[in-house]
Symmetry: C2
Subunit: 248 residues, 2 copies
C-alpha cells in the first residue's frame, strides 16, 4: 500500500508497522490495529484474501522455530479435540484472531471446518463482477471483536448455545469460561499456562512469569481460576508430549 | 410495553401494530419493523427471550389452519433435508427471520441445531447479575439483515463456505442462489412457487398469481430462474405429499 501512497509511511500506526520494531508493534492499541486491518483489507475480495493467506502460510516461517506457522501447534490440543469429537462433541475454535484468516487452515491443521471457527469478523458486501458473476468484498465494518466479552457474544451469535467445555490460555478467555461455567450440569473449564521457556515460551505475568503484551495471563485471573476450580495446566509440568518436534 | 408507556399507542409504527390491521402491518417498511424489534427486545436477556418464544409457540395457533405454527411445515422440505443429511451434507436454515427466534424450535421441528440457523441477527452484550452470574442481553444493533444480499453475506459470516445446494421461495433468495451457482462443479439451485391456494397459499405475482407484501416472487425473478436453469417447483403440481394433514 505504501508503494502506492508514500504519505502513509509517515502516518501512525503505519509508521510503526513499517519500522519492523516488534516491541513497538506489540504496543499498538486495538483501535490502531483496526485501522491497519481496515486499510489493508478493505475492498479486497474474499477469494483474493483467502488466496493471499494460503500463499503467506506456504512461505512464511517463524523466526525462532524455522517452521511454517501451521506446524507450530500443540499436540495435547489436537488430542483433547480428537477425544471430544470421538465422544459426540462438536469442537470449535473461538479466537481473537481474524475469522476469515483462521478458517483458511483450520480444517487441515486442527480438523475444524470453517463453519466451526468463531473469530474477529468484519462485514462483507455482495456485488457483481463485469461478467455478472457474484463475489463478496471485505468491508471496513467490525461485526465481532472476538476477545474478552466478545467471546461469549460471538459464541451466541455464531453457535447459539452454551459450550460444555472451554479451554483458554489468557485473560481474554475469562468471559468465555465464566459463560461456560454458568451452564447447568457438568461443565469443564481449563486454562493452559505458558510456563515452558524451553519447549515453547514462558509468560504471564501470573506466578512470577515474565510480562507480555500479547496473550497476557494476569495473576488476578490465575487467582480467579483457582477460586472457581477451573483447572490451570502447566505446559512445563503437565504436558508430556508437547508438539511435533518431540514425535521425531 | 404500551401498558407501561401509554404515549406509544399514538406513535407510528406502534400505532399500526396495535391496530391489528394485518394489511397495514404487512406494509410496514424494514426500518419500521426494526424500530419495533429494537423497542420490544432491547434490554431483554437472551434466556428470557428464549423462554418467551417457547411460551408463545406452545400457545399460538394459525388463524386459518388452527394449528401451532411449528406444525405448519412442508413434508417435501423435511424429506430433502433428510436425504441430503443421509448423504453427508450438513443442512442449514438461512432465513430473513430472527436468528434467535428460529433457533428455539429449529432442532425439534426441522432437525437443524441452533448453530446451523443463519438469520437476521442483532448484537448482544455480556454482563453480570447481582449474584455475579453472567448473562447476555439483546442489544439494538443490527449485525446481519439476512435477506437478499444479506443471505450470501450471512452465509460467509456464519458458515464460511459456499453451499452446494440452495432452496428458496422468494425474490429475497436471488443472491443466495446466485452465490451458490457461482461455485465450481455441480451445484443445485431450486425454488418453490406458492401456487396452491387449496393446500397452502397462492401468491407471486409471478405467473399471474396474486400480489403479496411478504415473500414476493416476482415475474422478473421467475424469468431469471428459468434462464439460469434453476429448477422452479410448483407446490400444486410437483408436491404429492404436502404436509402433516395428508399423512393422516
Amino acid at each position: 500500500m505504501v508503494e502506492k501512497d508514500q504519505k502513509l509511511s509517515n502516518v501512525e500506526p503505519f509508521k510503526t508497522v513499517l519500522s519492523g520494531n516488534r516491541e513497538a508493534i506489540a504496543k499498538l492499541s486495538l483501535h490502531e490495529l483496526e485501522r491497519i486491518l481496515f486499510a489493508t483489507l478493505t475492498g479486497m475480495s474474499v477469494d483474493d484474501f483467502q488466496a493471499e493467506v494460503k500463499k503467506w502460510l506456504a512461505s512464511a516461517k517463524d523466526g525462532r522455530w524455522k517452521r511454517p506457522y501451521t506446524d507450530l501447534i500443540y499436540q495435547p490440543m489436537l488430542e483433547v479435540m480428537q477425544y471430544l469429537r470421538s465422544n459426540g462433541f462438536r469442537t470449535y475454535i473461538v479466537t481473537g484472531g481474524g475469522q476469515d484468516f483462521v478458517r483458511v487452515y483450520s480444517e487441515r491443521v486442527y480438523g475444524i471446518p470453517p463453519e466451526q471457527v468463531v473469530g474477529t469478523a468484519t462485514g462483507t458486501r455482495y456485488g457483481y463482477q463485469k461478467d455478472g458473476s457474484p463475489f463478496l468484498t471485505k468491508e471496513p465494518k467490525l461485526l465481532l471483536n472476538d476477545d474478552n466479552a466478545g467471546k461469549p457474544e460471538g459464541i451466541h451469535l455464531m453457535i447459539g448455545r452454551r459450550p460444555y467445555a472451554a479451554f483458554g490460555n489468557s485473560t481474554g478467555d475469562r468471559e468465555m469460561l465464566e459463560y461456560t461455567g454458568a451452564g447447568d450440569g457438568a461443565r469443564l473449564m481449563m486454562l493452559v499456562l505458558h510456563d515452558d521457556a524451553q519447549r515453547e515460551y514462558a509468560y504471564g505475568p501470573a506466578q512470577g512469569l515474565p510480562e507480555t503484551q500479547v496473550g497476557t495471563f494476569s495473576q488476578e485471573f490465575y487467582d480467579e481460576a483457582r477460586k472457581k476450580n477451573w483447572t490451570v495446566l502447566s505446559m512445563k509440568n503437565d504436558w508430556k508430549l508437547f508438539a511435533f518436534d518431540e514425535k521425531g
